[in-house]
């Protein structure tokens, strides 16, 4: 379906994702992240809306609340960075006993949330997230 990607009306911005575009995004999330063993991965916008989410079939998290909190958290941390003279913090990561959560800015408007366990090292995850981010930047471009 050939449809415009961003619609601006009266200063309101709406993001429209086509089925083909979403399929490309899902392929990146599945192949670059789920296949290496992460538990779930969710692409959100900075308003807290979910663009796409994939998991290994075992996760029952409340993703809508998670997306809202992640967007708020990311905004708060970015503001904190600004207050101490940093443009942004490069590593946003919370470690739990069983689950860890990693946040990565894809573009100024989109954020990737990855939940993973002990099976995946943080270093490897960051490498895979960086690779996925490059592909997502392309997949998220208008008209891609």
């Amino acid at each position: 379906m050939d449809k415009q990607y961003i619609s601006d009306t009266d200063g309101q911005r709406t993001y429209i994702f086509t089925p083909a575009q979403l399929s490309r995004i899902e392929a990146v999330l599945a192949e670059d992240l789920l296949d290496v063993g992460v538990h779930s991965v969710t692409l959100i916008d900075m308003a807290g809306n979910i663009i796409s989410t994939m998991d290994n079939g075992e996760n029952r998290h409340d993703l809508y609340s998670l997306a809202a909190l992640a967007a708020g958290n990311f905004g708060a941390v970015s503001t904190m960075a600004g207050l101490i003279g940093e443009e942004e913090f490069s590593l946003l990561f919370h470690k739990g006993k069983k689950e860890n959560i990693h946040f990565s800015k894809v573009t100024d408007e989109f954020l990737l949330i990855t939940i993973f366990g002990k099976e995946v090292s943080l270093g490897f995850l960051r490498l895979k997230v960086a690779e996925a981010t490059e592909k997502l930047v392309i997949a998220l471009k208008p008209g891609s």
């Binding site: 449809k3 309101q12 709406t14 429209i16 086509t18 979403l22 308003a47 809306n49 609340s65 708020g72």
Partner: protein, 201 residues
């Protein structure tokens, strides 16, 4: 910044309840949560201080059914009302698609309402949005206190103070008791979805 997912035929939009501190923004969401509990699949998220004041935001996702073949999911948020949390309010407004301004009807809160509306306009402008153009509904809250003899601002004064230029729809309501809480929510949802209607083909 609404999201339209053409693959899942789903729309997500963000509605923020804005207004002065202790005006009843959280109480609105609590009433909606209680009223529509069976249709809300998640818990209401609140980030509060120990004193039970909103620190960051409240969040309540609500599915309202299908319009033009799209499943509509509205994310309801509140901002913290206390003056000192201006930067937090700005964060919560990011990507907002519709606003309910919850004004406090208490006579002593007249100035706070006006200042809060001014901060809303400024914060929207920081995202290059205009308060004149975004879907907006006013709610004049705490009308139930009139029965208890507490001095309230007449609705006409509130209209004159806040809504004389904007001319947005408004409701006299009681977030605690319920009158016009659901009507306020329905109105902002209709206006928000209507603003997206041309994209729903």
């Amino acid at each position: 910044m609404a999201i339209i997912n053409l693959k899942k035929k789903e729309v997500q939009a963000k509605v923020v309840y804005y207004g002065p501190g202790r005006g009843g923004k959280t109480t609105n969401l609590e009433y909606i949560y209680k009223k529509f509990r069976s249709r809300i699949q998640t818990e209401m998220v609140t980030i509060k201080t120990h004193g039970d004041r909103t620190l960051f935001f409240d969040f309540l996702p609500i599915e309202i059914g299908r319009i033009k073949g799209y499943d509509i999911r509205i994310q309801l948020y509140t901002v913290p009302g206390q003056v000192k949390y201006e930067s937090t309010r700005r964060l919560v407004l990011r990507g907002v698609d519709g606003i309910v301004f919850v004004a406090d009807s208490l006579a002593v809160r007249r100035k706070e309402n006006v200042l809060s509306l001014k901060s809303l306009a400024d914060n929207l402008a920081s995202y290059k949005k205009s308060i004149l153009e975004i879907p907006l509904v006013f709610q004049y809250n705490k009308r139930d206190l009139l029965d208890e003899g507490i001095p309230l601002l007449p609705v006409e004064w509130l209209e004159k103070d806040l809504n004389s230029k904007l001319k947005a729809p408004s409701f006299a309501a009681s977030a605690l008791k319920g009158p016009n809480v659901v009507q306020t929510m329905k109105k902002i949802i209709i206006m928000t979805i209507d603003s997206l209607r041309k994209d729903l083909t």
